[in-house]
Symmetry: C2
Subunit: 412 residues, 2 copies
């Protein structure tokens, strides 16, 4: 990591002027927080990427409008439990009512409120509960570390732990800005353009177009490179709010400070993407595939995603079984053309590194040793295609009994 | 089914002049048949479709040459246990030696022998065992029903039962021909151009180009419409051998008799494709998705395959859980553009038929009743897109604990 980027403990309240809150509104879950609010003391410029699923949840459609309009945004209201997808006109009305309830609390316009939902598709959210929840959230707002943590927990569904990340960035002129974020996501994770719910707050002063540009480029190499189950959700949302309260010289051109900001956003996003992949439903390990020696980055991405997306590769990782033919097979059906007799594969984990395939054939490695490597909680499969200089990394998780268990009866 | 097509009990020995045999050659499995031979009394014209995986097993490369050369083919030698994939030059030599051993037994050319393998990728086959196996198989050849059954069992890997199908077809002039077939396949099933191992024998007299044309068109609507786990194998092979011993007027033009033959081949192939999907690794049910009202057949295929390929839809079927949002979600990320608020969905099984989604939203159906429908061993999800007239059907299976169990430790 570059010397001007420093990881710090924190989440959405790490940057100046951002507050958060969590509340148990009884949307669907009992006895736990299921609503979260992010609030900025000053109007923000915003950028976002959203699901490419043709079936878009109502909050996704709402947020796309809010971001397109570009009115100074102040608040993000999130609920877990119900996705508000496949809910027709009634679903859009819930978004409007939520934004109205929230904006009336601080005396702003409803166009300045982003909303997001995650949970079961096809159920309606109770309007009374969600608007009452807005009032409670607003009362509880705090810029404390704990408020950020509580918000990160409130947006979880099948996640087993909260996901936060934050950095402090020093710009070329010496001013510092902060970027903090939280995400949720564990199943229905196969981002395409963006993934799951993710919220980034920053006190940087940055041009709106550049903010969107940085976000889009970062998402391509982070959230778009993870997969839990190949299912692209109806609700994927990743948004950034920048309130300019750091007072840095405004980032208005694609020069040094833009690059630094982009890198810092990358660090936060990659951190969260890996946290999400490793916490995939039922996962016992983070399964990383790094492909090098590809002809192009596009090829390298396609190859690495094919490996981490393969049910058979994922099941082999779960079984700590060095069935390397499955990795070759998944590379083979990725759609990228290559010479199978040039491929080399290594395993790497905390237990060591091992050469498994040379020129497309097994190296005659020690099976027990391979099993030992594959028994760690983070496994990397390194692939060298020997065709060029391009590389890419994708992240997934193993496929366990618990994935089936969680998803055979998610609604009850 | 048309009146000129009649299902009959049988497999690869159903058509005139075809014999079969099975043998325990000890390739990898212990105490079970693991080699099969199909043999024709007369030279055959052949057609085939093969995996689109860039990593092609040696036997696939061998068979593509044999079929391209078009030398009168007499024999197909199959082994289970080892896939002979990712085996380099040594793997190609195994194919040559097998074909040589077999052809020398009946005094033919090695170009007339097709070979096929299925099992673990990356292991070498012992040449001595497989050539010795050829001798034993040739001695045991028989045209009995039992010989066909034994061959169908010998080629199984994780399959729980053999897969055979046969029909008798009456051509327009009154002559009858037979088509018999066997397939294997349970995991690594996501055909693209073709799937798994499948062997069709027919005594029809038919032009080689028309035979290939019929095969290709049939495979597109049958084997290319099934998926167990999204993994396209390195060994997919589906070949037809036609020995002309029925003595029918040769099928040389794309007229009435060609159409009848194509239909009969479709009946056999669809039957086997559904048997394979329903016997997917760990499967407890056959999961069918029929999409109608699509703008084009291509769209209908893409939509139906997206649903049966979704891990979340498959897990819901396993749990008998009417989580209809997952079906909408999978339609949405299929890549086909449509209006979600026009979509209707029904469940259909032996227990009845039920309207679940109307205009993109839940109908308020009875949940217990839905669970009862989803508890049958064949479930159909019917989708009407209300956009056009095109339709297609895809077949898969549910995702169970046993899929994970089988694949976490397949090699041991």
């Amino acid at each position: 990591m570059k010397e001007y980027i420093k990881k710090i403990d924190g989440g959405v309240t790490a940057a100046k002027g951002f507050k958060a809150a969590a509340h148990a509104a009884g949307i669907k879950y009992k006895g736990r927080d299921d609503m979260a609010l992010i609030f900025s003391d000053a109007p923000c410029v915003t950028a976002g990427t959203f699901t490419t699923n043709n079936v878009k949840a109502a909050p996704v459609i709402w947020d796309m409008q809010v971001i397109r309009n570009g009115a100074g945004c102040r608040a993000v209201v999130v609920n877990s439990g119900i996705a508000n997808a496949a809910t027709g006109k009634a679903g859009m009305e819930i978004c409007e009512k939520t934004a109205e309830a929230m904006s009336s609390l601080y005396g702003g316009s409803r166009d300045g409120v982003l909303v997001a939902s995650t949970g079961v598709i096809g159920m309606q959210i109770d309007a009374g509960r969600i608007t009452a929840g807005c009032g409670e959230l607003y009362k509880k707002l705090s810029d404390s570390r704990e408020a950020g943590e509580a918000a990160a927990r409130a947006i979880m569904t099948t996640d087993t732990h909260k996901k936060e990340s934050a950095v402090e960035l020093t710009l070329s002129g010496g001013s510092t800005v902060r970027i903090g974020a939280m995400t949720k996501g564990s199943g229905m994770i196969h981002p395409n353009m963006c993934t799951m719910l993710g919220f980034v707050t920053t006190d940087a002063d940055i041009d709106r177009t550049l903010l969107q540009k940085a976000l889009t480029s970062v998402v391509d190499d982070t959230f778009n490179m993870i997969s839990v189950d190949g299912d692209t959700s109806t609700n994927d949302t990743y948004v950034v709010l920048a309130n300019s309260l750091a007072g840095n010289p405004r980032i208005e051109t694609e020069e040094e400070d833009y690059e630094r900001f982009r890198e810092a956003l990358f660090v936060v996003s990659e951190d969260l993407a890996k946290q999400m992949a490793g916490d995939g439903e039922g996962a016992t390990s983070l399964f990383e595939c790094r492909v090098c020696g590809a002809r192009s980055v596009t090829d390298a991405k396609q190859l690495s995603k094919s490996v981490i997306g393969s049910s058979l590769c994922k099941a082999a990782i779960f079984g700590h079984d060095s069935n390397f033919g499955r990795f070759l097979c998944a590379l083979g059906y990725s759609g990228v053309s290559f010479d199978p007799e040039q491929v080399d594969i290594w395993y790497e984990s905390a237990a060591g590194k091992m050469h498994i395939v040379h020129n497309g054939m097994g190296t005659g490695y020690d099976e027990e040793e391979a099993t030992r490597l594959l028994s760690e909680d983070k496994i990397t499969v390194l692939v060298d295609m020997h065709m060029g200089e391009a590389e890419a990394t994708a992240w997934g998780c193993d496929l366990s009994y618990d994935y089936v268990k969680i998803n055979a009866d998610y609604r009850s």
